[in-house]
Symmetry: C2
Subunit: 154 residues, 2 copies
Amino acid sequence: MAGTSGSWETPVMTMTKAYVSVLVFGLILGLLTITLQFFEYRYYVGRLNTDIYTAVVATIFTAIGIWLGMSLLKGKKEKNSPEIDLSKVKKLKLNEREYEVLQLIAQGLSNQEIADKLFLALPTIKTHTSNLYWKLNVQSRTQAVHKARSLNLI
Amino acid sequence: MAGTSGSWETPVMTMTKAYVSVLVFGLILGLLTITLQFFEYRYYVGRLNTDIYTAVVATIFTAIGIWLGMSLLKGKKEKNSPEIDLSKVKKLKLNEREYEVLQLIAQGLSNQEIADKLFLALPTIKTHTSNLYWKLNVQSRTQAVHKARSLNLI
DNA sequence: TGCAATTCCATACTAAAGTATGACGGTAAT
DNA sequence: ATTACCGTCATACTTTAGTATGGAATTGCA
């Protein structure tokens, strides 16, 4: 269904987020300018101190700036901070056991240790690993770990 | 030598960075308030439009806010993005070849492929891997990769 | 020069991993 | 009920990994 394009949405979503940020920023800036200007004109005769006005504007826009800067950096951050992408697990049609075995392999466990941990027989684990390698298009456990890491599966 | 405390400096530096950011922010805010107030008083009689003033203040403080937000997030970012710690390589007394082999193992290469890549014989690679495992206190290549990752060696 | 460490290579062996194939019970969809 | 997986286990086999030695060339240093 929607999972087909799941892994390629991230850059698009980042771009979208940036545009939304800029738009929201523009809107808030416009509204605030108008509002403050209104207050300015209304209360200036009453000698509202201008540095209070400055402080208010500065504080508000600093806050907006912080929010903007953080949300802008968040996009980049998710790029190089590895997060587990479970949508890819589904896309590769890894079943529960295979994914489980993959994680244990990545932790350095041998087939026998995995079998003991999951209360299964050694041949079962070998079957799972073989199917796993076929689905990941690799030939060994170290290759599987490397590929799984590059795909953010683990 | 100096490498002993290298890996533990990061949180301290993050804190320091944050304090510096706040200080710089305060300074700039103070200076700008004074400067702008000066301009305000000087040119107000000349009917300098108030929304230009607002726009200038807003832009400047938004920029400051963005810079602040980004530098605040950067500290967090470096916390969970693992960096290669070469000092630990020395501490474990891994020599050039062993570290080289370790990296290739992590990329999923077999001993034979590593031998071909480094123009060495297969037994040589086996010697290196065995020594490597002994130094890392592990028994297999997947364990070695896992341990090397947890130690930020690779 | 002698010594130690490094790097390379070899042989021989054991252990583990990987491949191929088949079988059987369970379960979910058609 | 049949098809189609999924998960389990088995056997048999080949390949790779890992261990234990030891030899030989090189380099740097005492």
